[in-house]
Symmetry: D2
Subunit: 364 residues, 4 copies
């Protein structure tokens, strides 16, 4: 009820604060007998961890995880899987200057007002550090999805006003290779360079900038999604909007689709395999989802991230006594979150698809 | 678990098919002693009902509701409230021609594949007729919110590429008056005329068009929203994405915000009332929500609707034997859903806010 | 969250008051393509309905149901099934004398204090009339279980201090025949006669008496139940304790088992079919459940019902002004609930097993 | 959905196996600003921990806990509280002899069949070691309840056929003192001696015996409980039945009440304080609950525990190849669980009352 759990069957509950002893997650409902590739899980955490490149925060966290339950001889047992990720580089003193100030566009004021108390160190629970737990759980969801040949690919499609061109391939392993060859995680090397240069400038300026992550999910079978409220895209949307700094979600044709006519927008069915179980559509404005249920086509969606609120410039704000005060960002922060957010988006997508896959088993 | 319930404390469960005997809803968790203004509830249903004007579907439904439980002497008793809305104008024979055809960009194929059976009459459960039940429940949520001086205003801000200018008032009763003076439900009379003309043309053409609904919620106290997953905007997003034909959701600065810099985007706190309990911000790119929790400013969001899939033109499709066939839309359909969708958006927003308001009581 | 729903996957939500317009239930999560035997559903309702014999209440309700959604051509479609049962014989004026009095051992006082308002007519929501909705939903659960060859048999094993002997058969259809041959629903005809005589005396005396329902469930596969909290017997226990007037639940050896030694109580495994998938045990003190998971043996449990609180004798009580007043039962009431409760116990058992059966599919 | 969470608002999710690295729990929904008395939490764990006396298992676990999140400066912050309890004395090799054998009346067979894999070491997840996590969470629930002057007292009222007399006091701190003065946790010193002697004999004999825990809860306000399914006693019943080895639950008059007449059983209201907000009843056969809602009287219930299944005698059983084999208990086990179970019963009761207390806030 308090909102720290996600998923109905493949359920995660995360815990932990930015500068507490540890963060982590319990996965309840992971099917038994799933072999856990520990190196894969770590590699996912590595893609999210801070300090990866010059354009990310310099906080140093190895994000080394341990699994304390639910696994025997490398296999899941069907009981709750507890993953622990200790915090290593908590410089809490970095935050003493904001103990009694409400940072603009941060969660300081709202947490204080809601709970009457807040862990001010590094944003406490509202810090994006919590998403490491999601990435660990998402890695296990991905391992489950691999057994069903479902693959997820997220990439940075915009930084500020710099837009990447459309994907020029639909082979996910190839796309990942390109994406991981640049620190921005853009699937187009030329645009990546431009984005990197722009982020570096922004950073030098003590400023931050927003961006967009686009995602494609391949191999989702027909039938996932639970109308009328738990439609597949509604669950994906909630999952994405629950990620720190996200301000928008659209799937398939999205906001652009609202300008189109039905005669252009309708995805015409074809039957290349001569079997009703595997219809395809000529276009995919539906983003792989019709009536809230997957139709077997690629699932596509975009996620908009606002610029990070912590900037290294002086701003006016209010303290907890109601006085006007100045504030300058300290601590270690990202000038642009999207390069690391790609992995968080993928993780949340994996969690949604795994959950819906298991929910759909009830009908079989 | 099957996805026909929404909300954790103010919980609704809807039922019913487009051409069955009735649709309706159970509200479980509505606080007791709430006086129900039955005329208000009917007036909300009237705003959603078909046949309101020349630019909406001509299906004739009075959408007269009755409440069968949970109310005594006009007041809620704290027990489940069951609202029944009979279907009156089911012309099921209109649909015999699509019994075995999968309409493009409809839910026919996905429902058939998921459940192995489907009520093909009027789209069955996937029809937007189900949203009448949401509007009835939403009306009761609005009555609850009125006691807290919370008001919701939705309006059509775009039809196709026609965009309405920004609101020129923030007095909701006035805005409603303007909006209800035109069949498009646009808050700008001049743009409304243009939109109406455009929809009429589209209709004459046998085609359909998408649009956008924008919403503002006033009077929400600081503190609503349950991080880290049930953030206020994540719940709003899921609610909106669960509405038929919705393809996108953004709040505050939304997708545009992802192009901005932190120094522009940050909402600077001010303290006009000299009390920490009621800080305001100079700008509102946060859309009234910081860290997933309401901050006392107006909550603002946009919802993108795709064009209606049923068009009165010949299209190619596949039948349930896998054959290529032609299909022409019959039945009675809207050329553009946004004028009626405004009320559905408001209803879902009211349900989210009422639910979060009650969830937040636990901390008090 | 308000407690009117039960079940995680095969979920029911009931509504309605004793003297309102109707009671009913939504089933969400019933698998599609289940053929509904409407006569069977009605026959189940008939076994619970009032006025069946001289030893039950004389309220006249036909308990005729209609299904308003979720079914097409007699088959479930996977969408919510709404079952409506109108109230026919509401003599609300019978209750005007208790409008302002708190009947002893009734829910009048607690409902008034919790909600600040109550429907005093016939006990409103706290009336056992609500259980008709459970029986209708339970009938559909039974139809689902039939497909898995799971059968449930409840019977009256005690009325006051009169105890029935152990079952002398384990063939459920035969047992049902014997049980239905007497108005007490005891599986032993001689004891049934004695019980009937006793209840008639009690009734003549204006008094009431408690009793016990015993249940056996056959054909449950190994594996149902979700430790550590949703153990099969924990769910059965909650289900039974949620029935009006129930004061106790025990399974397998129950309270008697707490007096035994481990060496007597342990159920020794045998392997008559030479397959590990179908072990049996020599004894069944475990009641078919080990570690909260069904083991393939018969599931057995007992449910204790207190005597009905409404008696036709003068009692002292307090009115809503705090004054001492006299009260005499009016209305139409059962002198002993167990004969009708048998069907309610079976219905709730069917709902639990159906729900756990579907929950267990996730692992397959 | 997998059953490792309990509670709707004060929600716990436990994890961990008997011989894994650690067990623990996340509490989500604990109100903020609750001061945590760490010594109290440890003292509760100490009452449950093994090795307390000669009549409990000799496994050595200090059950030292640490809290890794959700607390700042000794106070809860409203975010998830993660409590970790490392396993120290795992002698997994004790269990190699049962790796491929199904112990009678244990969960070995059912876990293996349900999940297709099981952690055989010490019973894995099915071990009562998991209840240490419940006791830690229950201790925090008790700290919350103290603020509302709600107190819980459990005690051993029967071991085998030895029954303790009724409580001769209703002052809980005094009762606790007496109870803690003997290793059986019986509230009557003379009976305690007899029980202790009996358990020692049973132990010498390599056997085990069942028992009963009785509980009284004082200070519960009128109004807790959520009809019709989440009645207060239904939630208490589920909570108790979820504890290892529990076979029965009854509240108020319980099974004995089913033999009584209404005229004896009805609890007559009185009004000693001349205020309708605080009626009392002359008797308390209702066990403090009417219509599923607390009525302000003491809440009373009994819990029946079967004898521990692991005995130090040779028994026949079946191995995972289907062969008949002999088995003799090894490892370290309790001859009778009730002395330690008292604390687990109290913890689960505290969790239920805390949860219902918070659920009830919604109406205020």
């Amino acid at each position: 009820m308090a909102g720290n759990s996600f998923g109905e069957i493949f359920t995660i509950t995360t815990f932990g604060e930015s500068h507490g002893e540890a963060i982590g997650v319990i996965i309840d409902g992971c099917p038994p007998n799933l072999e856990l590739d520990m190196e894969f899980i770590q590699s996912e955490l590595d893609k999210r961890k801070p300090g990866q490149s010059k354009i990310t925060t310099q906080r140093k966290e190895s994000d080394t995880f341990s699994i304390l339950s639910g696994v025997m001889d490398g296999k899941t047992t069907g009981t709750p899987i507890m993953i622990l990720i200790p915090n290593e580089d908590q410089r809490s003193k970095d935050y003493s200057h904001i103990r009694d100030k409400y940072r603009p566009s941060h969660a300081d004021y709202t947490y204080q007002m809601k709970y009457g108390i807040r862990d001010y160190r590094g944003g406490g629970r509202s810090s994006a550090r919590e998403t490491a737990a999601r990435v660990a759980a998402g890695a296990i969801a991905k391992l489950l999805l691999k057994q069903y040949n479902i693959e997820i690919f997220g990439h940075v499609s915009a930084v500020g006003s710099i837009e990447a061109p459309n994907l020029d391939s639909d082979i996910i392993p190839e796309l990942i290779k390109v994406r991981e060859s640049n620190p921005v995680r853009c699937a187009d090397p030329a645009t990546a360079k431009e984005m990197e240069r722009f982020i570096s400038e922004i950073k030098k300026d003590g400023d931050t900038v927003g961006g967009r992550v686009s995602t494609i999910i391949q191999g989702v079978p027909v039938g996932l999604g639970e109308p009328v409220f738990d439609k597949l895209h509604a669950e994906l949307g909630k999952a994405m909007l629950s990620i720190n700094a996200v301000h928008g979600f659209e799937y398939g044709s999205g906001f652009e689709g609202s300008k189109m006519r039905g005669s252009e927008h309708n995805d015409i069915f074809i039957n290349p395999q001569h079997s009703c179980d595997s219809l395809r559509t000529l276009t995919n404005f539906s983003g792989g989802i019709q009536g809230g249920i997957s139709n077997g086509m690629d699932i596509t969606f975009n996620v908009a991230f606002k610029p990070v609120a912590t900037i290294m410039k002086k701003q006016k704000t209010i303290d907890d006594q109601g006085n006007e005060v100045d504030i300058v960002g300290k601590g270690r922060h990202d000038p642009c979150v999207v390069p690391r957010a790609v992995i968080i988006v993928e993780a949340m997508a994996a969690l949604v698809i795994a959950d819906q896959l298991l929910r759909n088993k009830v009908y079989q």
